[in-house]
Each structure stands twice: as C-alpha cells, then as structure tokens.
C-alpha cells in the first residue's frame, strides 16, 4: 500500500513537470541547490575554515581547554536530558491532541507553537521571574532547598520550554495520517491496548518521533538566548558551550569560538546521518521479501 502511494506520488511529480523545457526543470534544481549552498554551506565553510585556521593541533588544544571541555560536557548532558523528556512528553501531547477530545483542545494545540514565537531571551527572563528568588515558584523551591535558576535545572527547564514544539509537531502529522482502523482491528482481534500501541502505533510513528528528538537535540545543543539568562554562566559549572562560544567571540578569539561550533555542528550532523541510515536500513528490511 505504501509502495503504490509512493508510485502515485512519482507520477504526479512527472505530470507536473511535463511540458516544461529542460532548462526549466534544471533551473528549479539550480535555484534550490544554490540557495542551500549560499545560505548554509558557505557560512558553515567559513566556520570550519576559521576553526582549523591554526591547524588541527591548535583546534584540539582549543577544545581540550578545561573550561571549554567542561562546557561541552555540560551541553551534551543537558541536551540528552531535554531530548529524553521532551520526546516522551511531546509524543504524549501529540497523541492527546490528535486522539482525544476535550474542551480547549484547539486552544492548547495553538499554544504548542508559542515557544517558537517568543524570543528565547524573553523565555529566559520569564523563567527568572517565575523561578528566581523573588518569583512565586522560586521562593517556594528555595524553601525546599532547591535552586533552579542559575543552576543546572534552570538550563534544562529553559531547553524543555524552547524545544517543546519539535517533539509535538513532528509526531502529530503521522499520528493524524494513521488510520484508526488498524488500531481498532488489532484491538478487536484481542490485542490489549498496550500491545496495540507497541505493535501498531509505535512502529508507524517511530520515524517521526526520531525526527522530533533529533531536532530537539540539535536545538538544545545550540540554544543561547534563554540559557545566557538563566544559567549563571559560571565556567566549569553552568557555562554551556554556546555561551562559551559567545564569550570567545566577544573576546576576539574567533578561532576557539569556531572550534567549539564545529564540534556542535558535527554532533548534530552526525546524528542526523546516523538516524537517516538507521531508517533506511529498517525500510530495506521491511521491503525485503
């Protein structure tokens, strides 16, 4: 069924391009490809060039600096935690928004995207006001001996908020596409709700969930605006890699800033390639007779 759908898609693409002169067809590709090269590859190339401008040894030394290394470890740690939480919560939210009826659903659905609309600097400020020592939540937490803002939990909190839409919005469309019949069939054939979820629903939406997690992770690696406000930015403790990069830029050390950026870029890119590979392999396994 999937295959016929994709065939239909190819046909429609062919028919759409019929009657277009060859240069027109290539023109479209040329526009897209050169746009991608100009807007993304060229700036990235500059960063890579700057990062390696003094050779690979200096590149390694820039990263091996204890403060830089601590910042990188912290960033990876909080990104992993954020991704784990938001993958689960995002999928759950998407499921509830798609499958369950309740008053205010549309409003909530609209709210999901709000973190994208607010400048992340403001997100940071909101959190400080709420969880800072004079905030309602902050005062209570402090009484319990918990410091959230200007500590690691604050960083995770900011990242959770900023990346929340990715988890929901990647999973939602594939949930909506999924025919309810399959679930109903499985259920009527005696599968428990839990089995139905694991055997029917989950495998179908897994690629979408993975995409969402990847976006969440990449965004968490690079987030700056809210972090610089809530973290406290103490080197070796709460200084994240993007804030470290900013410090190096401000300190006229473009090379060290680029070196760290290259690592963040490589991590994101490597993960994207890896997930892509996993999905292809899986698709091949299913396609094999």
């Amino acid at each position: 069924m999937n295959r016929s759908a994709s065939n239909a898609k190819i046909e429609s693409e062919v028919s759409l391009l019929q009657g277009v002169r060859p240069w027109g067809r290539w023109g479209l590709r040329a526009v897209a490809v050169s746009y991608l090269l100009l807007m993304i590859l060229v700036p990235l190339g500059t960063i890579v060039q700057t990062g390696f401008s003094a050779g690979i040894l200096v590149f390694i030394r820039d990263l091996a600096d204890p403060i830089a290394w601590a910042a990188l470890k912290l960033t990876l740690g909080v990104a992993v935690i954020t991704t784990a939480i938001n993958t689960v919560m995002g999928t759950l939210t998407a499921y509830v928004l798609v499958r369950l009826e309740f008053p205010g659903r549309r409003l909530l659905n609209g709210l999901v995207d709000m973190p994208f609309a607010i400048p992340t600097l403001v997100t940071g400020l909101m959190l400080v006001v709420l969880y800072g020592p004079q905030g309602i939540a902050g005062a209570w937490l402090q009484d319990q001996g918990l410091q959230v803002i200007f500590a690691k939990p604050g960083i995770v909190l900011a990242l959770l908020l900023v990346t929340f839409p990715f988890g929901v919005r990647s999973t939602q469309p594939s949930l909506m596409e999924l025919e309810r019949d399959q679930e109903d069939a499985a259920y009527t054939l005696g599968a428990s709700k839990w089995t139905t979820f694991w055997r029917i629903l989950f495998p179908t939406i897994l690629p979408a969930i993975l995409t969402g997690s990847l976006l969440t992770f990449s965004r968490a690696l690079g987030e700056f605006g809210s972090i610089v406000i809530v973290a406290g930015n103490i080197p070796g403790q709460t200084l994240t890699a993007p804030v470290h990069v900013y410090g190096q830029v401000e300190f006229d050390n473009a090379r060290a800033a680029s070196a760290m950026s290259i690592v963040l870029l490589a991590l994101s890119f490597g993960l994207i390639l890896m997930v892509d590979w996993l999905q292809r392999r899986k698709a091949r396994m299913y396609a094999a007779p």
């Binding site: 277009v20 023109g27 020592p133 200007f150 610089v228 406290g232 070796g236 401000e250």
Partner: protein, 354 residues
Amino acid sequence: MSGEMCNWKRNTAAALMLLGFVSVVAMAGCGDRKRPGEEVTLVLGAYTTPREAYGRAILPGFQRHWQQKTGQTVRFRESYLASGAQSRAVIGGFEADIVALSLEADVERIAAAGLIRHDWKSRPHGGMVSNSIVVFAVRSGNPRGIKDWSDLASPGLNVLTPDPRTSGGAMWNICAMYGAALRGFISGVPKEDPQAAAAFIKRVFQNVSIMDKGARESVTNFERGVGDLAITYENEVLVGWKAGQIYEYVIPRSTILIQNPAAVVDSYVDKHGVREVAEAFLAYLWSSDAQHGYAQFGLRPVDSEVDIAVRNRYPPVEDLWSIDYLGGWQEAVGAIFGPEGVYTRMYRELHGAK
C-alpha cells in the same frame, strides 16, 4: 493549463530570486549620503550605558548648538549596543561617524582595522569623554556590613559580576579588584604581590554564583533580588536609582577610574562627507553643557570644573587610579584575561581541572 501553471510557478520563483537579490543589494548599499543644504545626518555608535545621557541631554544640546552656529539641522541616527559588539559592528560595516564606547580597547580595535586613522588619544583628556568608578551595590541598610574589597571574600556572600569574556564592564571590575590588591588596600594582601592579589581574586570568585553577559543584566538581576552584592559601576547604580530602585552603594577605599572614550571614525565621516559636523560634535562632548549632561545621568565628568560642581553627588575616592597603573589596557588584558592571565588561570584552578 498545466503549462500555464508551470510558467506561473517559474515566474514566481524568478521573482522571488530577484527579490532576494535586490534586498541583498539594497542592504549593502544602505549608507548615508551627505544631504545638501539645511540638514545633516550623524550616525552615533555608542555603548548602552550613556543612552539616556545622549538621548535626553547631549544630542538635543548639540542640535541646538549647531543650529545656532550654522543654521543647519543635525539629525542623529543612534545605535546602542554592548561596547565590544558595537566596536565589531563598526568594523563589520556599520557606518558610525562617531563612536562612544566603554573602553579604550574597543576604539583601538576600530583603529587597528584602519577605520580610525588619526591619533584619537591626542584629543582633550586623552580622548576620554566621561568617567565612572567601580563600586558595590548592596541591599538597603547594607545588612552584610560591606565596607571594602576585603569583605567580598567573606564566606557565604553571594556576589554578582558580569562575565569578563562578554562584558567590558566585568573587565573593569576585575582590574579594580586586582589593582586595589596590588596597591595594598586589601587587608591581609601585601602590597605589590601579584600572587597574593591573584589568591584574593580567587577567594572573591568562590562567592560569585552568576556571571551575566553584560553589566546591565547583572544589575537587573541584583535589582530582582538575586545576590547580596553586585560589583558594578557607579553610573549603573545611579541609573537604577533614577528608575526608582531602592538599594545602596559602597565606594571602596581604592578603586579604578573607568574612562570612556569617543572618537570620529575617519573612513565613514569622509564617505558621508560629514567630517566638519562630526568633529564639532566630538568637541562639544567636552563642553560644560555636555559634561553636565553626563553628570545628570550618572557618569562622572572629565572636565575638572564640572567635576567640582557636581562633587556632592560624586564624592571623591581615597585612592583613585587609572588602568595605566596596570600598564594600560593592552598589558592589563593580557596579564589578567590572556591565556595565562590571572583570571584565566584562576578559573582553571577553581573549576576546570578536576
């Protein structure tokens, strides 16, 4: 029908591409040209602290002054950014005719890029237009009994200071701390002993829990109730007071004189053809009117007569010294914030190496 559709699509694509191209070209060519006759535009690239002093006192003052003198109307295009960012923006192509920044190093960077070609420090007061000092903001009533630098190291105190990597202000703060220690103004720290001074800085930074990216953010956090003490500039406190904030400040016995430079950017004034009015504006910054304007908005004047006139608001400091004591900016930055500097090594010892 389908052919028509495709044509339409192609045209749209072409139009979009053209639009993109045109906007890039337009952005690149968006400089100021000299307007003939009665109106002239000056672009001011400043750091954020003196925003009100410029916006509410000095720029209107100069507009009146220039109108009376020449009949010309001066329009200002103002940009306020963190000092380092502004300096880099000017180098990157933000065509400011005049820069007014927080520290010498930021103007020197523009000079090193070849955009300022004259000896800008040969102007009155070495090119400096306003002063301030490093002070401590403390809670009302000074509950922790802060009197001087040595109190900053007392255990359990929560100290705020911005990150010196991102904020010129924090560099002043740490220079002030280091210099006061070297000058023998911190009890228990022998005079002229760099190692003891470095050890003192380390003790203070064990009390620092938050390093914001700029001086303003740091004070804002303090105003929000974070921390017991913020190392900051006198003018930040005075601006906070103007905005209705209630807290006190303590002037340490020994502190650094913060000197804020201003300069004409040769390349851009020549390009815009506004050298005459730009030079006049720079000269105006040292006039009694402008100096009072700075004083009105929290900055200490460089002009000695105005300084005496505002003495009641800006009390003299027992031991006030300039960055020259640490060998000037370049040397101080290297010795304190360089790869093997006092500050850099301290953080490596404190947190980095486990």
